[in-house]
Symmetry: C2
Subunit: 184 residues, 2 copies
Amino acid sequence: MRTAVDLPKAYRLINHGPTVLVSARHAGRSNVMAAAWVMALDFDPPKVALVLDKATFTRELILASGHFAISVPCAAQARMVTALGSHSGRETDKLADHAVPLLDEPAARSPLVAGCVAWLDGVHIPEPEVEQRHDLFVGRITGAWADARVFDAGRWHFDRAPAALRTLHHVAGGHYLAIGDPVE
Amino acid sequence: MRTAVDLPKAYRLINHGPTVLVSARHAGRSNVMAAAWVMALDFDPPKVALVLDKATFTRELILASGHFAISVPCAAQARMVTALGSHSGRETDKLADHAVPLLDEPAARSPLVAGCVAWLDGVHIPEPEVEQRHDLFVGRITGAWADARVFDAGRWHFDRAPAALRTLHHVAGGHYLAIGDPVE
């Protein structure tokens, strides 16, 4: 059901602005956080930009490992996404606490969250000055996958699948809008 | 019908990931371009990050004027958004060619597009190295407004208004998804 997405089309997995989960692993510790402030930055090679607050443990793991992953969650996971955006993994194991299931994807360097509808695996491109001044990070995408029930042939097809598989778009305070139907 | 949005809540106008219009004015020339690669970067003072290709005339106007605006278009404007994303304003007056109506908002320094559902007016924060390397720009938001039919008390309320007022979320090639309903 999970299919690889051609890298030059990887930007399409986040182009419509979903809230995502950002994850990283280093020295045996993993963490995952919710993030609405993520966007595509280039097509080929695909790059992304994301905002990582200095307080986040995920930022520390990305800086230490040089790698990160983005998982695109769906409406069925709204409660988990809010929980992962509300606590820090610095003192606790968030993946265990919230029973976050991980995918077994050998080609990915960072943990991917199961039950999501798309995944991007990436390498951190250091930009120390804007990281420090604006919490703004840049990465290059090296692997991309999607759930073929909702993304196929380079396009999202949410109208063919259960509503629970629609992407989440956070407004504020755990209030999400689901993505809607195509505009004709 | 247009109401001012408190600056610390301005991020909510783009937090759900809509495709936007980026505009600027300098020395009597104005331009507007479509952009899916825009995100919030901070709450208070509100900042945004956006991607501006070196080929775009809007980038030139922003660098020259030090100012920019973001207008959040709706489903009724899909055709205009695609047109504004398909042509460069370098050789032609896109606002005249596509009959783009502008708002009369004295507090905004850059042109705001009428018929949209939210607007952010901002000041460019120069970051020359990432601008050059990644086409990545940072700005501070100094004014924010929304159409009270769909944004009120810090929240979007698309389900109360006609579908034509829903925000546009670009996938690729002029194919958009409209934002959907709240996730319970």
